[in-house]
Amino acid sequence: MAVTDSLSRAATVLATVLLLSFGSVAASHIEDQAEQFFRSGHTNNWAVLVCTSRFWFNYRHVANTLSVYRSVKRLGIPDSHIVLMLADDMACNPRNPKPATVFSHKNMELNVYGDDVEVDYRSYEVTVENFLRVLTGRIPPSTPRSKRLLSDDRSNILIYMTGHGGNGFLKFQDSEEITNIELADAFEQMWQKRRYNELLFIIDTCQGASMYERFYSPNIMALASSQVGEDSLSHQPDPAIGVHLMDRYTFYVLEFLEEINPASQTNMNDLFQVCPKSLCVSTPGHRTDLFQRDPKNVLITDFFGSVRKVEITTETIKLQQDSEIMESSFKCFFELSFSKQVILTIGLPSYFCYKEDQMDEKLMEPLKYAEQLPVAQIIHQKPKLKDWHPPGGFILGLWALIIMVFFKTYGIKHMKFIF
């Protein structure tokens, strides 16, 4: 009895061990899958949006920044997670013919100032020191929460900068500048202080690519509007307001972002394609060597939105072909690792949605969001040239008439004088 008991116990132990080993294999597999679902591995999103230029003629830089602000806010990052730095107040500038607005499109088609803009650092507060302090978190204790970047090692941070720059620097106001080395060191400090999980850096300035070439910290993806030696150019001249409203690169980025909604599956590779040289005049650049993941697996919403990994579906979901393995492995997984359970319970349902989504997209209607401006239409509408020409038949008839009158008057014998 004891023997059988011990035998059976040994068998169960063996079975458990077997199951365990099988389970661990299966678990690592599903863990990969789950990881892939949590491609970014982040739990919160932050954005630092900086316009470094003062003065009315730099209207476009403020509009640039506000357009990115508008996009990230629309995609779900709340004001508490956005640090917006604007070096000048264009909406209330006395030169603004349309007070309390900042337009990004000609003919006042898109007001990026919107109804509620929370500017955290304004006018002379926008300094290199303040910017670096925000990034590195070395801020006086009296600083209010809205002026802090309270990110952690699970945060995805979008840093957008625009202004006047040169090879290796970006000018702040009219008095100082930040160099690419300083910026790279600030990012390294952020990494060492575990202030970000992944970081997307976008800069729209002349010779913008020089700003990211010194980065050395991991998990940074960087985009710039122009290569070293190139100028970034302005766009959308508006005679009524009297200035250029946007810069080319950000203009097309905005156009691209307006098409994005929280459920979009657009990835970073699509963002790299924005504003080709034919549109931008400058050559936008990007850098991904520090980034761990393949850009094609990185959703735009990983940085531009604050997207929860939850999808509510109205239909019941059938598990697909490899579902049995998964199901069995789930059990083991649940049995074995409680720590993973937490992740899975959150992650699984939406994971299946995701699979479903990928397999037959027709099944699932993309969610509609209210008040989306057809920016693409606005941009691509061009005044049509209308040159009126008399119809061909009319001209032909006219010539025939002339020739007829000629022969009627002079007769055929005068032909020799003509030829």
Binding site: F55, W56, F57, C92, N93, P94, R95, N96, P97, P99, P237, D238, P239, A240, G242, V243, H244
Partner: protein, 611 residues
């Protein structure tokens, strides 16, 4: 580096300078003139470009459409002016107030030092009217000025009309960040001077005026408008201001870009723009414009009421509507739109205009020569004086080595005080002695001043016979009879070089013009050789003769040549105007010539007649 400290090399260099002095001088002079002529060719003349970021493009919408309104205002203004015989102050005040400006007046009076025969005025009193358009959403710390100077004759009515119509239009816009002052002055430039002095709370010319009741912050830029017809064929722009000061080149660029945008025909010095700068025709046409600019700048007169703003470092220019026999005419709307565009762009300014050039020459409206490129021309001319002075110094040095003179020759310093005294007399006596002159001679005050001026000038020529006699004995007694005049010439050369150098730095045109004429004869002057020829040359290149010659050249370039009698009349008028402008506006040409260059020139005259 031991070129000058090594005695052997130094001697070699000295020999070189001594032996090759004449060819070097000729070469340097020719190089200077050639450099100046070369300024109009493309590598040296560059295309103008806008440097100021805030005014970067013409990308503003001009909405001015008040052409009828402007004409109606102009008609009313002309009628009221005819009725009252002076500036219709009450009407102007009423109208300005009706278009929504803050209106103020300023009365001023000025007694000229002697009657001004060109403008027919002596005891002047008048009233300036100005209206301020406050920027709706900005503090009144900066302002722009649109001014119309009204003279005693009935010109400029259309300019006043356009000013009022523009004021009405500007009042309706909300984008002004600077106050705009609409200023109508009486007695043209005198009124402007009175207003500017009161605005900046200074009194530099002895003008009596009431203080200003309303102010509008620091003036960033000003545009003066002169229009006397309902339609114009072209707009002429004047930049030369008091004492040859120029506005920042960006202001001219702004005007030029709006000319191009509005398709207006714009001229500089009354000359059209050459299209093609690659062939010879363009630069030759540019040379005419350039020479006209040099002559006008050298005169140091304010060519339009903008010229007085420049003293207060307010960038300003004058736009003159020209109505000639051309077919295509522009109405007031076109001019108004150009002005509106300029003001809207100036409104965008955040700092004073400072990005572009302040010192430049213009061979065309879209071409300029920067100071770095034109200064060598005058540098080469002044090098002649330096070379000549070096030669004299070495000769004196060699002579001095041979025989020591404990007493030395006091010669060179002797003619200096009398020459300076003559200059002082030339500066002071004409105005001071006009009443004495009118009592003793049957002439009017203005004539008296001019004739006294010429008389004293001519009297200076008689000086050598009186000054050199007492010292000639002493000088002759030494064994080097040449030392006296050589030393005097050395002093005179250095004196002249210093003066011309300083003038060229502040007013290149004047410096270059004087250097071109005075340098060769100054280098040639010596008491040997064909004295009569030298004397004739020296008289021909004296400052007064240069003025006369410039007048002929000026009219020649304007394609309105002068006859000799006309030229003489113009010369006399120019002398009177020169003295008057010194007293009324503070033009510096008259004191510069009388206190600086004339005494210096007398020194050369002394050298020539040294015994």
């Amino acid at each position: 580096m031991g070129l000058l400290s090594d005695p052997v090399r130094r001697r070699a260099l000295a020999r070189l300078v001594l032996r090759l002095n004449a060819p070097l001088c000729v070469l340097s002079y020719v190089a200077g003139i050639a450099w100046f002529l070369a300024l109009v060719f493309p590598p040296l003349t560059q295309r103008t470009y806008m440097s100021e970021n805030a005014m970067g493009s013409t990308m503003v919408e001009e909405q001015f459409a008040g052409g009828d309104r402007a004409r109606a205002f102009a008609r009313d203004f002309a009628a009221h002016r005819k009725k009252s015989g002076a500036l219709p102050v009450a009407w102007l005040e009423r109208t300005m107030r009706s278009v929504g400006l803050e209106v103020y007046t300023q009365s001023f009076s000025r007694k000229l030092p002697f009657p001004d025969e060109t403008h027919e005025r002596y005891m002047v009193s008048g009233t300036n009217v100005y209206g301020i358009l406050r920027a709706p959403r900005a503090a009144s710390t900066e302002s722009l000025v649109l001014t119309v100077p009204c003279g005693s004759d009935s010109t400029n009515s259309q300019a006043v009309g356009l000013l009022l119509a523009l004021a009405a239009h500007f009042r309706g816009q909300i984008y002004w960040a600077k106050d705009i002052v609409f200023l109508v002055t009486e007695h043209d430039l005198l009124g402007t001077e009175a207003w500017l002095e009161a605005y900046h709370d200074v009194n530099v010319t002895g003008m009596q005026s009431s203080p200003l009741q309303g102010r509008a912050g620091a003036i960033q830029a000003a545009v003066a408008l002169e229009l006397s017809s309902d339609v114009v064929t072209s707009l002429d722009v004047a930049v030369e201001g008091l004492n040859g000061q120029l506005p920042n080149l960006d202001l001219l660029n702004l005007f030029q870009t709006f000319c191009q945008k509005g398709g207006l025909l714009c001229t500089l010095q009354g000359k059209l723009q050459p299209e093609d700068w690659t062939s010879l025709d363009g630069p030759l046409q540019g040379l005419q414009t350039l020479l006209l600019m040099v002559l006008r700048q050298a005169s140091g007169r304010p060519h339009g009421s903008h010229g007085l703003f420049l003293r207060y470092r307010v960038e300003a220019l004058t736009l003159r509507g020209i109505n000639s026999f051309r077919q295509y005419k522009y109405d007031l709307v076109a001019v108004g739109k150009a002005l509106e565009g300029m003001f809207r762009k100036l409104n965008h300014l955040l700092e004073r205009l400072h990005q572009s050039f302040f010192l430049y020459l213009l061979p065309g409206l879209s071409r300029f020569v920067s100071i770095g490129l034109y200064m060598p021309a005058v540098g080469f001319l002044l090098l002649v004086l330096g070379l000549k002075a070096l030669e004299l110094w070495m000769q004196l040095h060699e002579a001095g080595m041979g025989l020591e003179e404990p007493g030395g020759a006091p010669g060179p310093s002797v003619p200096l005080p009398p020459s300076q005294a003559m200059g002082l007399a030339l500066y002071v006596l004409p105005v001071l002695g006009q009443h004495v002159a009118t009592q003793h001679f049957p002439v009017a005050e203005a004539e008296a001043v001019v004739l006294t001026l010429l008389a004293i000038y001519a009297a200076g020529l008689a000086l050598p016979h009186n000054t050199h006699r007492p010292l000639s004995y002493r000088v002759v007694s030494t064994q080097a009879p040449d030392r006296g005049w050589m030393a005097l010439k050395l002093v005179a050369l250095i004196y002249l070089a210093l003066q011309l150098g300083c003038i060229a730095l502040t007013n290149f045109s004047l410096g270059f013009l004087l250097a071109t004429t005075m340098v060769p004869t100054a280098a040639l002057a010596k008491p040997h050789g064909p004295r009569t020829l030298y004397a004739a040359l020296l008289v021909l290149t004296s400052p007064a003769a240069t003025l006369l010659g410039s007048l002929f050249l000026w009219r020649e370039l304007q394609e309105a040549p002068l006859s000799l009698a006309e030229g003489w009349q113009l010369f006399l008028a120019a002398l009177a105007q020169g003295v008057l402008e010194h007293h009324t506006y503070g033009a510096l040409l008259f004191p510069l010539l009388s206190l600086g260059l004339y005494p210096c020139w007398l020194l050369f005259w002394n050298v020539l007649f040294w015994k």
